[in-house]
Symmetry: C2
Subunit: 300 residues, 2 copies
């Protein structure tokens, strides 16, 4: 099949390569030209605009950052909508606003182009290892059409419902992840303040009901103070904003998510948006005047 | 070995039976006489006081509810301290205050009795299946002595440090668990408010970075509205109080744990202390005026 891929960052690049390795032709576009090089080296055609990608593709994937980025590459002056053939399919794997997604899908629909929202979970590691989970919203027949392609990106594809429901599911997912991360930060900060070995406490917790992938991945970075690795907290800042906007529009009060947002805001305010989300623990620690395992902590 | 067990509730009863099945003699005490019957039927000696249990035992286990209960059965007028032989060992598997634990251990130490604090994770299911995780504080030689007994209760025994550190670790564990439970409740409540199938969203989340044992166990009950099963929220109310007391004494600010406590307080205020912790979702839903999946929810 002839495919297109727009957005070739940390997530998009390995995903596009997996699709090519599945035997599909590939046309690509990225705003930063240098991002297209690894794809061109693998045999992809580099296009000057998203519209040009769409003109060459049966299915166009997008993986960009925010709602406006998706609107730009799909509906902007040089967007997919101006080049897409009727009967083609757009699969947006970005994490964006569900309401905007439905509006975009409607605009594409007017041109005879189907759209799936298919945000993913698994991060850069999942993209590289082709172990992503895909949360898909849109018409069932379009999901069936995309399934062989999804299979090249990860083993789990869940069709949640109509257009936008993939994004809504992702928003709920990120909300739970982020509140859990703040809880893990507080638990490990308390352990450190009490003079315990934070990594040891984390390992104990991984054996109990407190066990979670957040504690496994982000908790390990909290314990090792490795805030450079992982997923940039500015992306979670964007995602939690989507969930809280949804809550705002639906009249749903979410006290813990709202509190968590204040701490992610604080990371942004400290220009730590490129740090890993595990940096949350430093906010909790510094608020009370020390760091985990510092000499000022007395033994519990 | 001749063992004693004090406190034969949902947790203590199966734990005492596992120890007996390991080939050990058993003397028991419970405040409610009827709780001793299954143990007596299995061949345990029923004693009229904790002191009498201690008089017959090399190692005495306790599994009662709160700090005062432990103080009562160990140090009260008919407590273990009055019957325990020098050189014997007390293993408290209750979840109580770490500071009080150290004071109790010191009192027992004056009588030549060692004490381990060894709160557990795994709940009634873990107690029945002998899959508990034990978080142990106290002298290393006492831990070595107790290890063959711990092995009858579960595969994971972690010696964290000196007296009280088992309780401190459990407090951190429960803190992380509870904040995560509130986050799961908000995520699933938002999914329901948006008209999504809550159980389906939960299953998607279990495939991603939001995956956790809390979402697995409590999330499933939130989705199925099965608030009767599981672990009574009044016990988590007690445990989170221990963590927040520790934070108070250490000058550690824990905003998410503090917020979470308000919701567990609200469950108590509604006389829902015997409901499972998963009932948290009803507070989030009702605050905004509906229930997950109710007809008033419009499709997302």
């Amino acid at each position: 099949m002839q495919l297109g891929f727009i957005g070739l960052g940390t997530m998009g690049r390995p995903m596009a390569l997996h699709l090519m390795n599945g035997g599909h032709g590939m046309a690509v576009f990225a705003r930063r030209a240098e991002a297209t090089r690894p794809l061109a080296a693998a045999g992809a055609g580099v296009c000057p605009t998203p519209a040009a990608v769409a003109g060459r593709s049966e299915v166009v994937f997008t993986m960009v950052t925010g709602t406006r980025d998706v609107e730009q590459v799909l509906l902007g002056p040089e967007g997919v909508v101006h080049g897409a053939r009727p009967g083609s399919l757009v699969v947006d794997t970005s994490t964006i606003d569900p309401t905007a997604t439905r509006a975009i899908a409607a605009r594409l629909g007017e041109r005879g182009v189907d759209m799936l929202d298919s945000p993913v979970s698994g991060g850069p590691q999942g993209a590289r290892d082709a172990t992503l989970t895909m949360m898909v919203g849109g018409p069932a027949e379009a999901v069936e059409r995309a399934k062989p392609l999804f299979a090249l990106l990860g083993p789990k594809v869940i069709h949640v419902g109509e257009s936008g429901t993939g994004q809504t599911t992702k928003a709920c997912h990120q909300l739970a992840l982020l509140v859990n991360a703040l809880g893990a930060a507080e638990a490990l900060a308390l352990a450190g303040r009490c003079g315990l070995d934070v990594e040891r406490v984390r390992q104990v917790m991984m054996g109990g009901m407190a066990s979670s992938r957040v504690l496994d991945v982000f908790g390990a970075r909290m314990a090792s103070r490795d805030f450079a690795a992982g997923i940039e907290s500015r992306l979670y800042h964007k995602d939690l904003d989507i969930a809280l906007r949804l809550a705002h529009d639906r009249g749903a009060a979410l006290p813990a998510a709202s509190l968590t947002m204040q701490f992610v805001n604080a990371l942004m305010g400290r220009d730590r948006g490129r740090d890993d989300l595990s940096a949350l623990i430093t906010l909790i620690e510094e608020m009370s005047g020390d760091r985990a395992g510092s000499p000022s902590a007395t033994a519990e």
